[in-house]
Amino acid sequence: MATPLEFTEAARERAAKILDRYPAEYRKSAVVPLLHLAQEEWGHVSPEAMACVARLIGCSPVKVAEIATFYPMFNREPVGEHVLAVCHTLPCALTGCGSVFDHLSEKLGIGLGETTADGRFTLRKSECLAACDRGPVLLVNRRLHTHVSPEKVDEILTELEKG
């Protein structure tokens, strides 16, 4: 039996604060903020991290897995410093997300789901990000960019290189 993954002391304190925001009988509602915490802690949400969150809120691991795998914001594999997710659902496809993705792929030299060798960028596709009227849409880490074009991609990348 491998020792289960646990939060660090500091993260545990933050988890306790998050849990405090919910009445005892609705502890399970803390699942999303705790998954974000897990992602901050370990960079991605591994199955072990899901189990850790499940223990904290007192539910079965699969209930956490259902949430963690539904939302594209949660990385389930180790990722680069910046995660770039191109929405590929219909409105974005009609407004040209294909060329945005291809441009990113060419500039970074990586394909779908891959991370650059220097560990800086991860490229992926995303399900709908709820900004269909402003497509194509690109999610960079936790920030949403709308009306994205290949030119705008260059600006965004330059910005990230700087930061």
């Binding site: 039996m1 199955p47 072990e48 899901m50 189990a51 499940a54 539910c59 079965s60 691991p61 699969v62 209930k63 956490v64 897995a65 259902e66 963690a68 795998t69 539904f70 594209p72 399900e127």
Partner: protein, 943 residues
Amino acid sequence: MNSRTVTLTIDGRSLTAPAGATIWEAARSAGIDIPTLCHDPKLEPVAVCRVCVVDVENARTLPAACIRKVEEGMAVRTDTDRVRRARRTLVELLEAGQPPGDDRRKAADQDELARLGVQLRSDPSRYVAACSNPPMPPDLSSPVIAVDLNACILCDRCIRACDDVQVNDVIGRTGKGSETRIAFDNGLPLGESSCVSCGECVATCPTGALTDKRLVDSAANGPDAVPNGSGTRRVDSICPYCGVGCGISYHVRNGRIEGVTGRDDTHTEGRLCVKGRYGYDYTHHPQRLTKPLVRREDAYPKRPLSADFEDYRDFRRSLRSPEWNDRIREVFREAEWDEALDLAARRLLEIKNTLGPGALAGFGSAKVTNEEAYLFQKLIRVVFGTNNVDHCTRLCHASSVAALTEAIGSGAVSNAFQEVLETDVIFVIGSNTEDNHPVAASYMKQAVDRGAKMIVLDPRRPTIADHATRYVRFKPGTDIALLNGLMHVILREGLQDRDFIARRTERFETLEPFLARYTPEMASRITGVPPSVIEDVALEFGRVERAMIFWGMGISQHVNGTDNARALISLCLMTGNIGRRGTGLHPLRGQNNVQGASDVGLIPRYYPGYQSADDPEVRARFEEAWGTALDPDSGLTVVEIMHGALDGSIAGMLMMGENPFLSDPNMNKVRKALQQLSFLVVQDVFLTETAEFADVILPASTAAEKRGTYVNTNRMVQIGRQAIEPPGEARLDGDILIDLANRMIRMEQGESGPRWAYDGPESVWEEIVGLTPIFEGITYAAMERDTVVWPMEEPVLFTGSFPLGRGRFTPVSFAPPDELPDHAYPFVLNTGRVLEHWHTGTMTRRARALDAISPEPFVEMTPGDLARLGVEDGCPVAVSSRRGAITLKAMASSRVADGNVFIPLHFKEAAANILTNDALDPDGKIPEFKFCAVAVKPVPSSD
């Protein structure tokens, strides 16, 4: 509940349905079949597959019949072109996404999607594969369930079966869009997940996504496996394992059981656990006894056969090894039935004539039918001439029954466990319900999901505590202090039911002052439970209208087991929690027929129906019925008989389906006792560890091979039906007993003696009912028609009064266990069971799936204790007590507390009962299996 009805038309037919019913339900009750894939009447509808859509007049769209409620005046059509087109298209789209190949076809019999396609004349080739995801490899990691996600249509049935019915919460729906998949735990392979292999998901899966592994993995069980139902004969019966008594169907082909399914039309609604669903193949195990065996002249003095297997370490290999058969042949020779039975009859009579009937004894079994148990006790009482007849009930609930009989006059469970769905608080103490009564546990967990509170109290955290609203860990052996503390608070807060106490009970005045000193603080010092927790539990329990109390061996298997039960009964009486639905006392019965075997008199002090053998009037009645004088002495209990064997006062024994070598405490002593017997006859289906000491072994039959009745933990009498023939020359247990009785009678009395003549189990049952008032009115015909509990039509007992009239309070003091830990033996050993095994493992360790899931013994210890010993998780340790020592694998677990260890009793290669203490409870005569002092030492690993 809702008595209102609505009138509607379906396909032009006018019909009424209860308000709140769905269109699907209304149609079905009118005999109109609406196809569906995602719906199963046992599950809440979710309407995701849309196959059940119907045309409702004036509706905007086609609503799903499985979820749309009926309305007054609604006009529904199930067969319009529009409906047919929608239905067919949906099925074609789903079929287009199905994997090709033979494996799935093989399961087509159970594949509802494939069947529906045939029925609707679908043409999936109209569509290219609905999605282009590359095929996923099958997940064959579980020993019993094969997973092929390619065939999954995301109907959610498995999820609801796992979450809502069995309440195991293993399966979920993960991912999003075209990558949505069912998943286990946090995305683990099924075999590594927390799945308990109950198979409820497989039973409901409408495609080939979740199937019986034997169908796709020929390595697991040969290439001939067939799905349940395909070309097989179905035989409805009762599960041969625990006291829940689930309804099962055997599926039989060519004289072999090919599978087991749950019966929806029984009290357990088709639910099963891993033992019931996958543990049936022991009956076909090659080691079945098929010919009578007689000990060879040169095989005396007796010694255990298996000693050469290096303390049984090679037990698992011996299950398949031909060497084992050679060993048997060196000690036993095959004999004809006539020879074996005559020898048994003659030697038993010799002992009776020389040493007196009191030198004979019999151990019956809680696994056989009522009829067989009755015949067994009759053989011992009438032909052997002694009341020395007992069975393993002595080792499980003897103390509970003693306390119940004394307090209310009946040892029976008062209410069915299904009534947890109608209660406010479920109080579970000393019961590892999920492992020992898995299907009963599923109802408890469901009740919690629906809002009931569940308080679980146990020194070792049982898995059901994960579902409890409160779990209380207390120091082992301190139950009485805890229960007295709870009662103290209930009285202090005035939460007792004064009216009930006044009307229905007596001697309350002895209890009240007695409890004064059991303050929460005092109870806390003994139990280790904080005073505030004792107070909270008392308030939670005391304040509700209805509470049900469940307990298991954690209460009964102590030297003060009877006192433990007395305290529980007082708690129940004081709060008036008996005699109504959703209340009551429920000592969960361990074996499939432990209730029935006791009911029909397989216990020394009572004739059938708990009629006292000590009462001269009762005795006279039975003497007349059985046509002979009966033993006026009380008779000895299981452990007393073993002590008798050791001191020579018991010389001859008959054992039927009982394996005291492994099941009784202090095994080294039992071994000596068995060696000491001058004549032992064992009647069993396998050559058990006990049979290794036999002089004559009689091959008997399994539950699947016989017809007869069983009584479950709810007092429900159910018929088990014969599915297959006994192998070789093995005979039905009842026939063996009748034959032996007649031979002994003839030898004793000549041809003029009476003859036992029965015409099948029905005629034995008639004789039992004639002598047993509690079974009055219960006939095979009644059991065939409907579920029957004894007493007839009384699912809730004691509604007006108790058999004793008033319920009696008995104050009990806390007293420590018999053997406390000390410097030499610092750990407390607790013993019990695991989910996959049952009793001494004679059956379950010979069931392929159960052995694969739970292959070996282990000792559970806290990670802290392991670290202090310097032992890694999974490494061997030596566990010793004052009575013996065993070596087994350490398993890190936080289910036990520091200073405590747990060892399951099933494994003979590291038998827990080598260690246990055979000190007895004075009233129940039950040994203290749950507490003894042991030492744990690291063992250098050999590899």
